[in-house]
């Protein structure tokens, strides 16, 4: 893997089509996109514009129908299931709109889970989990279950889980959609701080104005095509 001389993400002419009866629905059309390390970028657009599809391809959860998607030096369209899982496991973090914490496990165990998959020792895991929970300010909740947390706290746990292994890239799909303004700002500030302190690249899929305020780059998708690609001056962070 070569991540020093190449962009973190490089999409060339990416097309994604889904079969719909006898025809196809085109979700993404000829997407060319480059994201460098350390960016804090958002893909914005209305529902159905292809944001999640694009995020799924970059996250190696899906592959393009045509074109090439290179993420951290890996061509997504050529990755096997196992290689894609390994890429996600070692280098990517995901944050979801609905938090998607594992309900039967504690905060500590939810954050620990990605490290278990990496096969780290118990001591290493403990240190990394506590660091991650400290970044998001939840060290006092390590024994709580997700059901005992507020929405904001749950999303902070999800962030801790995404960043605990210090991935190069965090993909966040509508991370503030279920949060109120105060919690949204709290979450976004945490992510900005982690972006600055750890150099982690963040790529959002959002149409939330609160998120857009924090972006340094905004890519607008309309009907599966990039309509605009703007450099922003962050107002929130």
């Amino acid at each position: 893997m070569n991540t020093t001389t190449q962009p973190l993400i490089e999409l060339n002419n990416v097309v994604k089509r889904y079969p719909m009866g006898t025809t196809f629905f085109t979700a993404l059309e000829e997407i060319d996109l480059t994201v460098e390390k350390g960016e804090f970028t958002g893909i914005v657009g209305p529902s159905g514009s292809g944001k999640t599809t694009l995020l799924n391809i970059i996250g190696s959860l899906d592959s393009p129908t045509e074109g090439s998607a290179r993420v951290l030096g890996n061509f997504i369209e050529k990755l096997s299931h196992k290689a894609a899982a390994s890429l996600r496991n070692h280098h990517l973090g995901f944050i979801f709109q609905t938090y998607n914490l594992l309900p039967v496990y504690t905060v500590y165990e939810n954050v620990e889970f990605p490290l278990l998959l990496l096969g780290l020792s118990a001591d290493e895991r403990k240190k990394m989990v506590m660091d991650a929970l400290e970044w998001v300010g939840l060290t006092d909740k390590i024994k709580s279950r997700p059901a005992q947390l507020s929405g904001g706290e749950s999303q902070r746990v999800a962030i801790a889980r995404a960043v605990v292994k210090k991935p190069e890239l965090v993909l966040a799909d509508e991370p503030t959609a279920n949060l109120d303004a105060e919690n949204s700002h709290h979450i976004l500030k945490a992510m900005v701080r982690l972006n600055q302190e750890l150099g982690t690249t963040y790529l959002f899929s959002t149409h939330d104005e609160k998120v857009i305020q924090y972006l340094r780059r905004k890519i607008t998708l309309l009907d599966g095509k990039i309509a605009t690609d703007e450099v922003m001056t962050p107002q929130g962070g």
Partner: protein, 424 residues
Amino acid sequence: MIRFLLKGLLRDRSRSLFPILTVTAGVMATALGHSWFHGALGGMLTTTANFQTGYVKIMSRAYADLVEEMPNDLALVDVDALLDDLAEVHPGWQFTPRIHFGGLIDIPDENGETRSQGPTMGLAVDLLDPDAGEVERLKIRESIIRGRLPEKPDEILVAEELARKLEVEPGQVATIISSTMNGSMAFYNFRVAGTVNFGINMLDRGTIITDIRGARQALDMGDAAGEIVGFLPGDNYRDEAAQALADEFNARFSDSGDQFSPTMVTLADQNGMRYMLNISNSMGTILVTIFIVVMSLVLWNSGLMGSLRRYGEMGVRLAIGESQGHIYRSMLAESVMIGIMGSIIGTAIGVALGYWIQVNGIDIGSMMKESSIMMDNIIRTQVSATTYYIGFIPGVIATLIGTAFAGIGIYRRQTASLFKELEV
């Protein structure tokens, strides 16, 4: 990772409780069913062997053809010589003569007139020679209700039910009216030594037990016996050993041209016992097969329901970087844990219940009143080493198969599909 999965199982009851209960129930039923069949069939085989068939039985060829009629006119003669020969050639086996006879039992009053009378079935065994082992084999000492064991050839034991019906007490005289081996009438006065109840309806309705010497005298049978039964002391019936002995004996003694020549038959070849033996031998396989098929279907279904409920979790785990194969394997690992837990609990309950029934028994005497099956009224299970694992291994295998089928649905699903469902 195993610890992580185990925590999830213990905390999420919907993931573990129903499958564990299902496995527990199945394993318990298998362990208990096995000990039940083992005990019931084994008990029936033992009772039949001890009272009727022996492990092997020697009769004259003619007697064997009409054995249901107990035709003592076709009995074996020169029995003592034959017993000596058998003892010398087959020292591991124990052979003993018996006579079955039918007749009337007549209880006289103080004037010698008939006070009461009834039909009876007589069983004459060697009660007086301790080496014959018949008292122990037939559990006569334990079965005595009133009185004592016969100490002389002309003493008999009367079934308690028959004794009450005839109003005869130990110490009183009972006349047996039957026919001699030569076909003439036989009248013989015995003294009632005691009454017995074997707990076997077929015997307890109207049997008398006498020493074979007394019966020979009464029936004018000299050195004859209806049959010689053979046992392997301290060992269960083994068909191969019995068949080998019978083949060898018949090769030596049996003559198809002489209807009075002795012939040996095994337990399996009497009273339709081969069918029972086959059932007894294959019961474990039948139970285990039924268990695996039924449990796999049930657990497949519950696995599918559980997996559908856990789509969200699967999606998150895929996104975090777990491979589909790893998720599938972790589901199988969970199922092994569930299988082991359910099997341990199920085996423990099944064995405990089995032991309880083995000790206390279940009385089915009321159902067996008119039965002609040689079977104890109290059925007992028999817990053996097999009982401990017969349900255990299928319990784990069925859980594994059920989950494997259920997991294929997840495994074959596209990563993106799972992920999309997660977002719904």
